[in-house]
Amino acid sequence: MDLLLDGLIVLVGGGVVALLLSRTPLANLVGAISAAIGSAIVLVPAVHVVLQGVTPAEFSAAWNVPYGSFTLLLDPLSAWFVIPIAGLSSIAAVYGFSYMAHFAGHKSLGTPWFFYNLLVASMVVVVTARNGVLFLVAWECMALTSYFLVVFEDEKDSVREAGRVYLIASHLGTAFLLVFFVLLGREAGSLEFSRIADWLDSSDGFSPGMSSLLFLLALIGFGTKAGFMPLHVWLPEAHPAAPSHVSAVMSGVMIKTGIYGIVRTLTVLGTSQEWWGWLLIGVGVTSGIGGIVFSLAQHDLKRLLAYCSVENVGIIALGLGVGVLGIHGDAPAAAMLGFSGALLHVLNHAVFKGLLFLGAGAVIHETGTGTLDAQGGLLKRMPWTGATFLVGAVAISGLPPLNGFISEFLMYLGAFEEDSLLTTSGAVTALAAIGSLALIGGLAAACFTKAFGIVFLGEPRTDASRDAHAPGWGMRIPMVLLAGCCFGIALQARPIAQRLTPIISAFLPEATLKEPKVLDAAFVSLHSISVACVMVIVLGIALAVARKALLHRREIGSSTTWGCGYAAPTARMQYTSSSFAQPVTQFFAPVLRTIRRFSPPQGPFPKSANLHSETPDISMKFLFRPMYRLVDRLLSMLGWIQHGQVHLYVLYLAATMVVLLVWYLGVAV
């Protein structure tokens, strides 16, 4: 616990020093080092707690805020979330040092590092806070610091617009959380999580209606941060706008605080209800399939990755849904598998999404644009970035021998088990989980063969991509580290998954094992999968050696790519990202509503032809914009109050005070 606080102090202190040094070249160094070291210090106790499975004593300090107290507790569940937060933040900070150096001279670097450090600290406090008020304050701090990081390049209109969307959407979510905590506090009589737990033990708990209401509020509030469809509108705006190491942290771990919120809510509410499982699976299916389909339709690398985060939180929601269903269908092993899959995916997604955003950052850093169709052939120019990006792409498609497969495998096992054990309604829901996981996996492979293939393979499509250079080791090492984690988690699947069992059985006593045999079988499977992964790698190396031996001393020719005999191909003849995705986008056209503007070539000697397509966000267009417009119209009716005459404003204040005074006196009497 002490180390956790020490780490927080280093983070905040380093941030403040960086801010003070703002305009000097030292700011970048101080900010990056304090972020990397502070996060690494926080990582130590978290890893310790997860490995040992024991919760250190809580830290509590008085705080003169009504109902508030500064209570932190690092139980295994919190620690599980602290690990990706601290780990990725530390690695991203190292990367950020090289990335930000580019802006030195014409931008203050102290400010972004100050906000970065505060963001990391507030994320850690969010997942360790044991008091509702402290949680909300940290939550708000997280939203604001990340907002300031998103608008780092605030001289661009698009960035300011993205920041505004993020700020509004984020606060809409917070509004639901505020109601959630007010209701929770009123029912339980306290905002201390430990007191709520005591209250649950000593009373009948929440009424079914109240607990459902609380769950829905939490699902919307936390779901906004996590990026569930249709609440995801801010993700595709904010992630591309932010500097890449910040996108990595926001997409890799910040949205996971939303997942943490939902999991913690399930524990705080005590008992769950079966339909919550259906709802979570429904949300998972919508976000998973919707996210990846929109991702396929994007033309910008970072937007593509942002939509893909929507897909991945969808997968996590599927796992949580399978878990909740398992509890109610009396299939505790399936529940364990569902929750384990979901929690492991939290870690896995942090690793490979962090990696992919850092890779995207390197590409943007070198070519100056994230547009997919402006890239090409970068693997030859940036071999390390390309190779690690490929590892991330295979991992995020959920394919062996990498980590993404492990968490999806656990969810599949849980869903298969429920499919056989549960009553029809539960079984059909489990079936939906299996079918959508399979479809999501297939579409993710389509999406990431596109992203990797168009950016890194083929011939450069523009001069910028032809002249790209490899980024320095400061940016390479973080990517190599994360790629190594993708392999490491897959090869250590069993020990890692076994660490999850005490975490889940601690917070969901209903899921305590009645049939450990099933779970043991799952662990044996994980071990076999690790063996299979090693075999794929070893066989691959063996075949590569065999190929080399076969080609030894034989004629190896080199030529242009086969083009039906056409010998002068140009880079413009390559398949583009939109043509690659076209079969899928065509199939899902009713959902995507892609706007196409096409002026076809005319006459025998056409002078010009043009095709433009863009896919605006469906939920932005049909849900949020109309809502914003309605609010705008209602509020502009009150516009006459605001006329800019200060003395009248003072009158308003005075009038309000008088009214309040009269009301207060009236109540008192």
């Binding site: 092993a333 399936a334 052939g377 693997l379 030859k380 490929l390 295979v394 498609s397 394919l399 062996p400 497969f405 495998f409 599949y412 096992l413 298969f416 088990e417 499919d419 056989s420 054990l421 079984a427 079936l431 299996i434 079918g435 996981l437 399979a438 479809l439 996996g441 297939g442 579409l443 492979a445 063969t449 393979l457 083929g458 011939e459 045999k517 099933v518 079988a521 044996v524 499977s525 076999s528 299979a532 075999m535 794929v536 691959g540 075949l543 590569a544 190929r547 076969l550 034989r554 190896i556 020719g557 080199s558 030529s559 242009t560 790519t561 086969w562 083009g563 390559q574 398949y575 043509s579």
Partner: protein, 304 residues
């Protein structure tokens, strides 16, 4: 002896292509190439040098290697004729499906590495069709898991196949037929056969799998051809193991399954001879249909 199914797959898989080609030739009234032609082709390719496009990188060379490695590991998971697979654990069916997915991923990026529009086109179709085939495959596997061993996660492919008996056929034959049909469509799609893809066409524009490997030559192409044969064998063995009831006597089961493998090759050849390739826009409908069949099978099973 656990390795018997693996060894049979490694040795016999190219023969399946020979049988399919012979069947097609017979339907067309031709003599056709020798049954062992695929082996000759592989041998010849292994002797050759190679030509690489100047556009390509190490990805192009790694594609065939990793695809074949993934398919070889998948082969270790597939049982045959009452013999358990070399590796067998609960949920191995999922690993099997995803290993084939890894092979496909690498084939697709290797195709994109050439920077050719033709290969991009093939790659684009491949990822789309396989994304639609994936749910049919997984739901079909879920259905088999449910009818054969009650669907518990304690089940492996080996156990599932050994549970298919005449009794089970009598009890839920309809479900088995539906699942077999769904898996057969997946089998045709994943192996780029008619009506989804035409393995014999020579027009780059209409091909899917063949166009993706257009630029590979020599030993690389031998790896690709062998991997494709192996995949054909494995998905065939999945269906045969599901359809052919097991008697418990291993000689009988093994022979029955081998006959089944010949039968599925002949059926594939017959389908290719009698059907035209579907228009590309019609293929998704077929694949969604396969998924629907698998769901229908599961729903029928709930009714029971």
């Amino acid at each position: 002896m656990r390795f018997l199914p693996l060894i049979l797959a490694l040795i016999l898989s190219p023969l399946m292509r020979g049988i399919i080609n012979r069947t097609k030739a017979r339907f067309a009234g031709r003599q056709g190439p020798p049954l062992l032609q695929p082996y000759y082709d592989l041998w010849k390719l292994l002797q050759k040098g190679a030509v690489y496009s100047t556009t390509t990188t190490w990805i192009f060379r790694a594609g065939p290697i990793i695809s074949l490695a993934a398919t070889l590991v998948a082969a270790m998971l597939m049982p045959l004729g009452g013999w358990p697979a070399a590796m067998s654990f609960s949920g191995d069916l999922i690993v099997f499906a995803y290993l084939l997915g890894l092979g496909r991923f690498l084939t697709v990026v290797a195709a994109l590495d050439t920077g050719s529009a033709f290969e991009g086109m093939g790659a684009s179709r491949e990822v789309f069709y396989s994304a639609l085939a994936e749910p049919a495959l997984l739901l079909g596997l879920a259905a088999i898991a449910k009818i054969s061993v009650g669907g518990s996660i304690l089940s492996s492919l080996s156990q599932m196949h050994s549970q298919i008996s005449l009794h089970l056929w009598a009890e839920s034959g309809v479900v088995l037929v539906f699942v077999a049909l769904a898996l057969f469509i997946v089998f045709l799609t994943e192996n780029s056969r008619i009506p989804v893809d035409d393995p014999t066409t020579h027009l780059e524009l209409t091909m899917i799998h063949e166009v993706m490997v257009l630029d590979h030559s020599g030993p690389d192409f031998a790896f690709i051809l062998y991997g494709a044969s192996l995949k054909l064998w494995l998905l065939g063995a999945l269906i045969v193991g599901l359809v052919v009831p097991s008697s418990g006597i291993w000689v009988v089961d093994l022979l029955a399954d081998l006959v089944g493998m010949i039968a599925i090759s002949v059926i594939t050849g017959a389908v290719e001879s009698m059907m035209a390739r579907l228009r590309l826009v019609r293929v998704p409908q077929l694949l969604v249909g396969a998924g629907a069949l698998a769901v229908l099978a599961l729903v029928l099973e709930y009714k029971n």
